[in-house]
């Protein structure tokens, strides 16, 4: 919780109205983004993303599992977010839990697409190994290390970076014949060959925070405390909207919703490019 005096509140709101925010940014510009990949050796892929004072880590763990009987040709992905009490005292106990589940649900909506798999950032059928028998289960875990606003965008970026850092071991099916129907086929997980993950379809999340009449991207915690509502929109490279969710109690006019969508679309183009070059730079640094 941030306690702000009336003066500070007015300063923040006034700054946003005049397109000059407290840290000198314009309404639609981001804080500097810093990405490190491969920060967790035990995971199949991981990344740490820092946007200003917000610091998050995402890791990808892959395990062999059985596909869902309803979708035999697809793997499974689950997203779990942890808001650690080390980041802020309000995350202790239940306070963090509520926020964690909300963030996880929003990320799921924004990254995993519709029921039929349209608009999914991760192609679930690419995770299948033997149809109906063996598939990859991806566990995406996010950790909020320190929070200074804009957590959803940061987590989305971290997951994108972690996925592009992910190498899934090549799996050779040894005995997958019809003779042993019902049994799990024998598989051999290679520890030398790894398959790179295609992350070009993973969307980015752009959160527009509405303060007064204007909206800003990448709000800090102080600015978030002044918001009336916020709209998180996930957009992929093709400019298609993959998910949308609204936070904050205050209602907004339908025309403003549409305007926010088009603003987010413009912002996202730039953001995707920045992220991609940061991820590429991080990968290059890791290889050195």
């Amino acid at each position: 919780m941030v306690g702000l005096s009336v003066g500070e509140t007015n300063f923040i709101r006034g700054g946003i109205a005049q397109d000059l925010r407290c840290d000198g940014r314009k309404r639609l510009s981001y804080r500097p983004i810093h990405i490190d990949t491969g920060v967790i050796p035990q995971a199949n892929g991981s990344a740490r993303v820092r946007i200003g004072g917000t610091d998050v880590i995402a890791s990808v763990k892959a395990e062999l599992g059985r596909p869902n009987s309803a979708q035999p040709g697809k793997g499974k992905v689950s997203i779990h977010i942890d808001c650690s009490a080390t980041a802020a005292p309000i995350f202790q106990g239940k306070g963090g839990e509520a926020l964690s589940t909300e963030l996880a649900a929003d990320l799921q909506r924004c990254l995993l697409g519709g029921k039929s798999g349209a608009g999914a950032g991760i192609d679930l059928s690419s995770l299948s190994i033997v149809e109906g028998k063996v598939c990859w289960d991806l566990y995406l875990d996010g950790l909020v290390v320190s929070s200074d606003g804009n957590m959803l965008d940061a987590l989305g970026a971290a997951i994108k970076a972690a996925l592009s850092n992910t190498g899934l071991p090549k799996v050779n099916v040894i005995a997958a014949d019809a003779t042993s129907s019902g049994d799990q086929p024998e598989v051999d997980v290679s520890d030398e060959e790894f398959l790179q993950f295609d992350t070009s379809a993973v969307p980015v999340i752009v959160t527009l925070t509405k303060v007064g009449k204007h909206y800003i991207v990448d709000a800090t915690e102080e600015e978030e405390s002044q918001m009336s509502s916020a709209m998180s929109i996930s957009i992929n490279r093709k400019g298609l909207i993959c998910g949308l969710t609204k936070r904050g109690g205050a209602g907004v006019d339908p025309s403003i919703v549409l305007d926010m969508i088009s603003v987010a679309k413009n912002v996202s183009e730039n953001f995707i490019n920045v992220l991609d070059s940061e991820i590429a730079a991080a990968e290059a640094r890791e290889e050195e």
Binding site: R109, G113, G114, G119, I241, L244, G251, I261
Partner: protein, 256 residues
């Protein structure tokens, strides 16, 4: 357009603008869905307030096979452990009966539904009118027949009105599925299973405010425009039905 005032049970459907349903690639041909509705036609809505006598306010909603009861308790004193707050608190909880779904006890996503319900309603309620206290909203899905969440939200706002909680406006909610190239409003369970994308909108018609909007799947901007327009129109009509339900209740002499 099938909705004409006076017919029972009342239906509502958004006006099909210039766009006629395009050649459907979905189930049947000529724009008819499995249950006989057109693409832009909602299920018949039955709403009733005062379903639970012990609650401060309650409502029952039946949209096709989706049946929901919502009870509202309070405002009552917030739990001692909670911090002082000069605005009221809203506590929402959604649960499914074990027999609500086809496979027993598979009612999913309660936690997410509860939080969306909370976000959809908090913008409509004058929380400052009951400081230091909590209003509890409990929703129970008795039968899940598709579009559960919008039905829960509409029913909950009716129950809040029945409980006399001060609100800016009734919140009406409608969802829409994108199946292939076509949009179908108020989808049933079967359609939700095959959907490529979904859009849910909750709206306060008198203030013209969207309180919650949730989209998933893959959407182009024009399609979002179209979907939102359809939902807005349906919300307005649904709010009319909700309003007349409340009026009826107020006019009818109470049976005691």
């Amino acid at each position: 357009m099938s909705s004409r005032a006076g017919t029972t049970p009342s239906t509502y459907s958004p006006s099909t603008q210039k766009k006629k349903p395009q050649k459907p690639t979905f189930n049947d041909s000529n724009g008819v869905r499995s249950d006989g509705r057109g693409f832009y036609q909602c299920r018949p809505a039955y709403l009733k307030t005062g379903a639970v006598s012990a609650a401060g306010g309650s409502a029952y909603a039946e949209f096709g096979n989706t049946k929901v009861i919502v009870s509202v308790f309070g405002p009552r004193e917030s739990k001692k452990a909670m911090m002082y707050s000069n605005v009221g608190r809203l506590n929402c909880s959604v649960s499914y009966t074990p027999f609500a779904t086809q496979v027993r006890g598979q009612g999913s996503e309660h936690k997410e539904y509860s939080s969306v319900l909370h976000k959809a309603l908090e913008g409509a309620i004058l929380l400052e009118s009951f400081p230091k206290t909590t209003v509890d909203v409990f929703a129970l899905v008795m039968e899940s027949g598709g579009s559960d969440l919008p039905v829960i939200i509409s029913c909950a706002s009716l129950a809040l009105a029945d409980a006399g909680i001060m609100m800016y406006d009734l919140v009406a909610a409608v969802s829409l599925s994108c199946v292939g190239p076509s949009l179908v409003i108020d989808p049933v369970l079967e359609e939700e299973r095959w959907q490529d994308g979904s859009l849910m909108l909750t709206y306060m018609p008198c203030r013209s405010e969207v309180t919650q909007l949730a989209v998933n799947g893959e959407w182009t901007t024009p399609k979002i425009h179209e979907g939102m327009e359809l939902c807005l129109d349906a919300c307005k009509k649904l709010a009319g039905i909700m309003r007349s339900c409340l009026k009826e209740e107020a006019d009818s002499p109470s049976i005691q």
